[in-house]
């Protein structure tokens, strides 16, 4: 364990040299098994990958494992990313495919995950009104079909452009926009009049 920590500490200090390197240089160095270069790639994209996985899995406990697996897949063969500028898109695509694949095999877990997000703390007395709003919105998002949830996560939460999100999802921009429109329409239906109440609650809390 001590050796691992020492290794980690060592890679962290040497990773400093790679901080300003481009993704292309880091990928190329990673392909030559230069670990500190790969560490910088991890530092650069770990939060993006984890957030998307967390959003589309409905906050499942496996989210971090899937993010780990995504980077391990990259480390196994960095050359599989053909264009360095598309690295983030590649990571998000691999991660989201992994989430969908995992829950397609275990559909009950997805439902459980959605329920966990929705009802992990159902006692309203223990929640502030704003927390309750957050939980209601989480539960509504969790009810969306996975592709719509992914489109929403990429465009709304990750602030990707429609073009970039379409590339991640391997769709045309029109198809992505259609998915997004359906997701938003469905969310409005799910939230219904409660949505407006929640808006008022949020305005009061300001």
């Amino acid at each position: 364990m001590g050796a691992i920590l020492a290794l980690h500490h060592g890679t962290e200090t040497t990773a400093g040299r790679w901080q300003s390197a481009s993704d292309a240089a880091l990928l190329e160095a990673s392909a030559r098994r230069i670990e500190p270069a790969f560490v910088v790639l991890i530092q650069r994209y770990q939060r993006d990958v984890f957030r998307v996985v967390w959003r589309i899995s409905g906050g499942h406990a496996d989210s971090e494992d899937i993010a780990q697996e995504t980077f391990l897949r990259l480390w196994a063969n960095p050359a599989q990313v053909r264009e360095a500028k598309a690295l983030k898109g590649w990571l998000l695509r691999v991660a989201s495919n992994m989430v969908m694949d995992r829950y397609r095999r275990k559909p009950t877990e997805e439902i459980e995950a959605a329920e966990n997000v929705a009802d992990s703390n159902p006692d309203p007395l223990e929640c502030t009104e704003l927390t309750q709003v957050s939980r209601t919105v989480d539960a509504a998002v969790a009810q969306l079909p996975e592709r719509q949830r992914l489109a929403l996560a990429l465009v709304h939460f990750e602030q990707l452009s429609n073009i970039a999100a379409a590339e991640v999802m391997e769709l045309s921009v029109d198809a992505l926009e259609s998915l997004l429109a359906r997701a938003r329409r469905r969310l409005k239906e799910i939230l219904g009049p409660k949505g407006r109440e929640m808006i008022l609650t949020m305005e009061k809390a300001k």
Binding site: H8, R33, Q46, D138, H156, R184, M202
Partner: protein, 128 residues
């Protein structure tokens, strides 16, 4: 009151989405990943200029067509049976003798190639 019943608009929906729960902060992600990478690392790292040697293994070629093998075996068995039957009856030797006799006695002389007559009959030599 009527506004309360209206569905929310896009701007309001965005506000609500922004109010959704934020993902938790990652703790120890990098260190854990490095441990996982170390576990994946192969025991022997191949060098660029080393051509891996493979122990040659004999190619065991299975018969492409099972029926071919079967037909060969059947043909061999059939010829063996025929050979045994013929050997027991002695028909072959009589057939061969008959043919030889016919040729020798000149019954098929007209079919023999030119010059056969000049050699003479086998019996002539034996008789003299």
């Amino acid at each position: 009151m009527s506004k309360m019943l209206e569905p929310i608009n896009d701007i309001e929906l965005n506000k609500l989405l922004d109010a959704s729960t934020a993902p938790p902060e990652l703790v120890d992600f990098e260190a854990r990943l490095l441990r996982n990478m170390a576990a994946l690392r192969p025991a022997v790292v191949p060098h660029d200029n080393v051509v891996p040697l493979f122990k040659p293994t004999p190619d065991i070629v299975a018969p492409k067509n099972k029926s071919r093998g079967l037909s060969i075996a059947a043909a061999l068995a059939a010829s063996l049976v025929v050979g045994v039957l013929i050997g027991n009856t002695g028909d072959v030797s009589s057939v061969v003798d008959g043919l030889t006799g016919a040729i020798v006695s000149g019954q098929v002389a007209e079919f023999a190639p030119a010059g056969v007559d000049d050699i003479g009959l086998a019996d002539e030599g034996r008789n003299s």
